[in-house]
Structure formats: structure tokens, C-alpha cells
């Protein structure tokens, strides 16, 4: 199939999905229930997969399919499953009192997005990307991920925050250097999996020794 996905054709589609990506991360910041957070994460990942496919075919990169599949497996199946498993194990579904209330977090998140877009306009880092919108979105998603980790108390939410960051990074790779060399891809996704497992283990350990996964209890070591 000779390339019908021209830049003109793909740009709008990509930008739609970009918006979805941003939206998902904002929703994650906004919501309280872990399960729903996981769902949003799932959605975000899956539209990352789609973006992968589109971009991949548009610059007809041979590795597209492989990357897409790995991502699908990792981000849309294994991680959400594992997270859900841990959530069930630790019977902790609701983020009770976050450090920063969801609404404020949302505001901050949008402020961040504004900041990033502004910065990229002045410095136009966007220049380096195929799709400037996606690039900016990626950066903002990374920051939002960090924001989530900062604003929440539950161990799990923090893990999810970390994965949102990973998504951001993934988006970044898509947009700048499509598909890094195979080894790295493998390595990265590998320790995403290891990561999630280990995180799960630690969450459970926290659960059993603090009988809750509320991280704010973990503040004995100071000074």
C-alpha cells in the first residue's frame, strides 16, 4: 500500500488524539477512584497505540507493527490488569484525602499545559517534532504525571502517575524519534513490566506493615 497517509491527512487526526491524551491525563488528575483512574490510563495508552500505528504508517517505518503490539501488550493489558489486581488485594479504591484537592490539581495541570505550550512557542522546541502539538502534549503529560505523583497519597496513584509519565515519554519518542533501536525498546518495556510487578510487591508490603497504602504514613524518616 503506497503511502496514502500524507502529512496533511494525518495532522488533524493526530491532533484529535493528542487532545484525547491530554484530556485523559487531566481526567486522571481530576478523579478520585483508583479503578476509574486505571480506566483512563487504559484509554490513554490505547490511543497512544493508535497514534503509533498512524505515525508509523505515515512514515512507513517497518517496525511500526512490532512497537504497536508491544505497547498494546504492555500498556493496555499487563499494567492495567496488574494494577487492578493490586487494587483488589489492598482493598483500596478511593483516594480519601489527596494532598492537593482534585479540582486544584486540574487547574494546576491546565496551567502546566499552558506553560509548556507557551515555552515551546517562545523557544519553539516544537520544531524538532513531526507534530508539534503532540510534542507539547507529551511534555505536558510528563509534567502532569509528576503532578499526580505529587498530589496524591496512595501508593498506587503514585505508580499510576509514574506510568502516565512513561506514556508521555512514549509519546515523545513517537513524535521525535520514531521507534528507538530494538534493544532499548525491549529493555524499556521489560522493566515497565518488572516495574509494575515490583511496585505491586512493595504496595502490598506497605499494606501489610502499615495496614493501608496511604503513603503519607511513610514519613518517619526525616532530618
Amino acid at each position: 500500500m503506497n503511502n496514502f497517509l500524507t502529512q496533511e491527512f494525518t495532522t488533524p487526526i493526530i491532533s484529535y488524539f493528542t487532545v484525547v491524551l491530554l484530556l485523559m491525563s487531566i481526567l486522571i488528575t481530576g478523579s478520585n477512584r483508583l479503578k476509574s483512574i486505571v480506566k483512563f490510563y487504559l484509554l490513554q495508552s490505547s490511543c497512544l497505540v493508535i497514534i503509533t500505528l498512524i505515525i508509523g504508517f505515515s512514515i512507513n517505518n517497518p517496525e511500526t507493527l512490532r512497537i504497536a503490539i508491544i505497547t498494546l501488550l504492555g500498556k493496555c493489558i499487563v499494567i492495567p490488569l496488574a494494577l487492578n489486581f493490586v487494587i483488589d488485594k489492598s482493598q483500596a479504591n478511593k483516594e480519601v484525602v489527596p494532598i492537593i484537592s482534585p479540582s486544584t490539581t486540574v487547574l494546576i495541570a491546565s496551567a502546566l499545559i499552558a506553560f509548556v505550550y507557551g515555552l515551546s512557542m517562545t523557544q519553539n522546541f516544537g520544531r524538532i517534532a513531526y507534530y508539534p502539538g503532540l510534542f507539547n502534549a507529551a511534555i505536558s503529560i510528563i509534567l502532569i504525571g509528576l503532578l499526580i505523583m505529587i498530589s496524591r497519597k496512595k501508593a498506587l496513584t503514585q505508580i499510576i502517575g509514574l506510568y502516565v509519565m512513561e506514556n508521555g515519554i512514549f509519546a515523545l519518542t513517537l513524535d521525535t524519534v520514531f521507534g528507538m533501536p530494538f534493544v532499548v525498546e525491549m529493555g524499556i518495556s521489560l522493566d515497565l513490566f518488572i516495574g509494575v510487578l515490583i511496585m505491586g510487591v512493595w504496595t502490598l508490603r506497605i499494606k501489610q506493615s502499615f495496614d493501608s497504602i496511604d503513603v503519607s504514613k511513610l514519613s518517619k524518616l526525616k532530618g
Partner: protein, 493 residues
């Protein structure tokens, strides 16, 4: 050949460490393993010094003098650690009344830990380096949480979370770098190889490289423990079993630093040294400065050492930031010295806190009378660590200051001396409170204080740092000088 062995030996040791039937059997396996490792390392270094650079496994492995130095550090420290833990881990296991499999787990993870660090320093692919460091984090987290107390779990958790975030940032840096590479006409398949990047780095887009460097510095800086990303460091060090703390501060820091430096070299090639130097200087001095108040008011022996590690990392980074051959020589030399000295300190501190059943400084009294050997060496080690001759730390710090003044960094050098004076005072005060003074407890004789291996573990590093203060052996000097050439372009000679 050596390279394969280098990877193989720790692996095999790790496997063997799963076999033993009683706790006495770990020591011989572990020690012999790390001895062989050290031998291989020496052989390898010999080649490195002869050939200059070793590349193999179609450019997957790249060993030059600088990685050689790191390998040497890893080999030496891991040997010391094995010597020490032979005695210590048994005692502490008794203290916590852990089952045997805990020990197995410990030794297994220990070897894997070493293994990963080795892969990090010998691999040519910055992506692989990244993966390696991530893996190290995940493994060492288990070692940090070994005792399974609430505090140790907390420490481990913070360690994982913070470091993973840092690593994520590092990833961004790598991506940007890769991008820069392929957009300045680099071949994709090679564009993560360090040597290749270096060769084409002239053509990079400076803005992107700057951004990438910032991300890398923050990212790996978290792992290194540069202020203000250092927050996990004292917790992890204080909660981990002593041998692990020694490895963490002695080696792991250096490995992460190694990857920063590798990247700095590329950045310097493409955008000139000024930018990177300023950033390094800033973070270095900030780390030193931040360590001062915590050391002054510290009341826990291992946290004290942890913060002193923060200071020393600051010193090394400052040395790199000053950016003259001499200062860089000081920095790399300091990497080695700090590794050895800090290991020594952690060991002695471990002995003390095991004897007194507490990490609380105010509860440790008159150690030098109660356990003459460890107490004395603890005092001497503190002096050495604070950089007073005739110990090698003095030399490396001296070179850095000398370079600083030579490069007209008046303020930085003065602050440097001022801070190190305050820290000297604080740490010596704490140390003397712990070691000297009249005691209520009865003396116990040298025999039951430490085993022969324990003695070795303390005497060898002391000997090394004392020797290095008067006589730097030619091979080591070659190694250091070469690494300076690699980092700065020209050596001090």
C-alpha cells in the same frame, strides 16, 4: 574473554549462593567469587592500559580507562563487602532471627547488583546503560528493604519512587540526544552508541543538547543523589544492611555519576564546556552546602555518613565543574578515594551500631575503649574522610581546590574550604563523642570484637588510602590520567 568472565563470575556466584545448607557456607563462596572477579578485573585493566580501548560484541561493549576505573572500584569494593558481610550478616541475621533463605536472597541480590553495575559501566549503548540503572534501582530496592521493618520499607519505597521519576527524566534526555543524533545525519542503529555519538557530536543542534543535558543531569542526578534530588539517599543508606549501604554509596553513586559524565563529554564536544561546567558547579556546590546543616544536627550514625556522601558527591561534581584537567583528575581520584574511605566508615559504623544495638549517636559512648579495634579505625577513618593527610582524600580535595583557585573561582574555592571546615568540625565532634570518653561498660577483648575477615575488611581499605596518600602506583595513575584525557581531552601530564 575477560569480559565474558566479568559478567559470568558474579552470575555464577549468585547461583551458587542459593545452594548453601547453613550460614557458615556463604562466606567462602562469596569471597572466592569476588576474589576471582577482582583478578579478572585486574587482568582486564592490564589490557585496557595496554590497548587503550576495548570494543567487542559488535560494539555493545566499550571499555576505556574511565570505565576501567569504575570497574576497578566495583571490584575492590565488592571484595571488601564480601569480606565484611561474611561476619556481619550472620550476626545481624541472628539479631533479627531471620531464616536461612533471607541470607540466600541477600547474597543472590548482592551479586546480581554487582553484575548489573558491571554491565552499566562496560556497555557502550546509553540506552542499555539506562536500562541497567533502572534495573539496579529495582534490585537494590529489595536490598534496602531487606530488614522488612516499617522504616526500611518506607526507605525502599521512597527510593523506588524518586529514582524511577529521575530515571524517567533521564530517558527524555536520552531521547532528545538520540533525536539530535539522527537529525544530524547519524545512522539510527548506531545512534545510541557512546563512541558514535561522540564522533558526530560536533554537528548536534546545541539547543536540544542543552535540553537533553539538563534532563540527564536531573534524571541521573536523582540517582547520584545531587541536591536537591538527594532526599531518598539518607533514608536508603540508613535503612539498608551495612554492606549494602557501603555498595550504594561506594559504587552505585559512582556508576550513575559515570553515565552523567559520559553524557557531559558528548555535550562538551558539541556545545563547549562552559554550559555544562556551570550547571555541574551549581549542583555540586549546592550539594556541599546543603549537606552542612544536616551533618551539623545529625543524630544517627548512618545518616551522618549518608550526608557526608552527599558532600563528597558535591565535591566530585564541583571538581568536574571546575573543568580543568587538574580538577578533573582530582574528581576521578576522589571517586576512588571516597569509594574506599566511605566503605571503611560504613563498616566500622556497622560494627559500632551492632555492638551498641543502636544507630543513635548519643547512645554510642566511649567506643574506643569498649571495642578498641573498630573504635580506633572509626576515628582514623573519620579523619581520613574529612580530608586530613596522610590520607588520600586530602590529596584529591587539594587538587580540586588548587584547580579552583588556579581557574580564578575564588568564591567557590573559599566556600568549599569554609564548608569542609564546618563539616570537619561537626563530624569530628560527633565521632569523638562516640569514641572517646569514660565508659560504664566493660572492655571486651579484640578476639570477640571482630573476626579475622572483619579485621581484613577494615585493614585493607585503611592501608589503601594511606598508601595512596604518598604513592600512587603507576598503573592506577595511568588509569586516572587516561580518564582525565577522556573527559577533558588532555591529561594533567
Amino acid at each position: 574473554m575477560e569480559i565474558i568472565l566479568l559478567i559470568l563470575i558474579p552470575f555464577i556466584t549468585a547461583i551458587l549462593c542459593l545452594l548453601p545448607k547453613n550460614e557458615k557456607q556463604f562466606a567462602p563462596i562469596q569471597i572466592s567469587g569476588s576474589l576471582c572477579l577482582l583478578l579478572v578485573v585486574i587482568k582486564l585493566l592490564n589490557n585496557v592500559i595496554k590497548l587503550g580501548v576495548i570494543k567487542s560484541f559488535n560494539n555493545l561493549v566499550y571499555i576505556d580507562a574511565f570505565s576501567g576505573l569504575l570497574i576497578l572500584i566495583i571490584g575492590t569494593v565488592s571484595l571488601l563487602v564480601s569480606l565484611y558481610s561474611a561476619d556481619y550478616m550472620i550476626k545481624s541475621n541472628e539479631e533479627y532471627s531471620f531464616p536461612l533463605w533471607k541470607l540466600k536472597k541477600f547474597y543472590f541480590l548482592l551479586n546480581i547488583f554487582v553484575l548489573t553495575m558491571l554491565t552499566v559501566v562496560i556497555s557502550n549503548n546509553i540506552g542499555l546503560v539506562w536500562v541497567g540503572i533502572e534495573v539496579i534501582t529495582l534490585i537494590s530496592a529489595f536490598l534496602v528493604g531487606y530488614y522488612n521493618k516499617s522504616t526500611s520499607i518506607e526507605a525502599a519505597w521512597k527510593y523506588i519512587i524518586l529514582c524511577s521519576v529521575g530515571i524517567a527524566f533521564a530517558m527524555i534526555g536520552i531521547i532528545l540526544c538520540f533525536y539530535a543524533a539522527i537529525h544530524s545525519g547519524g545512522v539510527e542503529s548506531l545512534s545510541l552508541n557512546w563512541d558514535y555519538l561522540l564522533s558526530i557530536s560536533k554537528k548536534f543542534n546545541p539547543n536540544i543538547i542543552k535540553l537533553a543535558f539538563a534532563f540527564i543531569l536531573i534524571g541521573y542526578g536523582t540517582k547520584v543523589g545531587l541536591a536537591p534530588m538527594h532526599s531518598w539517599l539518607p533514608d536508603a543508606y540508613s535503612e539498608a544492611p551495612t554492606p549494602v549501604s557501603a555498595l550504594l554509596s561506594g559504587v552505585l553513586l559512582k556508576c550513575s555519576l559515570y553515565s552523567i559524565i559520559r553524557f557531559t563529554i558528548i555535550a562538551n564536544e558539541s556545545i563547549g564546556a562552559a554550559f555544562t561546567n556551570n550547571m555541574l558547579l551549581f549542583f555540586g556546590m549546592f550539594s556541599i552546602a546543603l549537606s552542612v546543616p544536616f551533618i551539623m544536627t545529625q543524630n544517627q550514625i548512618k545518616r551522618l555518613l549518608a550526608y557526608s556522601s552527599l558532600e563528597h558527591i558535591g565535591i566530585i561534581v564541583t571538581g568536574l565543574g571546575i573543568g580543568s584537567p587538574l580538577s578533573i583528575f582530582g574528581a576521578v581520584f576522589h571517586m576512588f578515594n571516597h569509594a574506599i574511605t566511605k566503605t571503611l566508615m560504613f563498616f566500622t559504623a556497622g560494627n559500632l551500631s551492632l555492638k551498641f544495638q543502636t544507630k543513635d549517636i548519643s547512645k554510642i559512648k566511649s567506643a574506643i575503649n569498649i571495642m578498641p579495634f573498630s573504635g580506633t579505625i572509626f576515628l582514623i577513618g573519620a579523619l581520613a574522610l574529612m580530608g586530613s593527610p596522610p590520607f588520600s582524600v586530602f590529596l584529591s580535595e587539594f587538587y580540586i581546590i588548587r584547580a579552583g583557585i588556579l581557574e580564578k573561582h575564588w568564591v567557590i574555592s573559599s566556600l568549599f574550604i569554609l564548608f569542609s571546615l564546618i563539616i570537619f568540625g561537626a563530624i569530628m565532634y560527633q565521632t569523638m563523642n562516640m569514641t572517646i570518653g569514660n565508659s560504664t561498660e566493660e572492655k571486651n577483648n579484640l578476639r570477640e570484637e571482630v573476626s579475622k575477615l572483619g579485621v581484613l575488611a577494615l585493614v585493607i581499605p585503611l592501608f589503601i588510602i594511606t598508601l595512596l596518600s604518598v604513592w600512587i602506583p603507576a598503573p592506577l595513575f595511568k588509569l586516572l590520567n587516561r580518564s582525565v584525557e577522556i573527559i577533558h581531552g588532555k591529561g594533567i601530564l
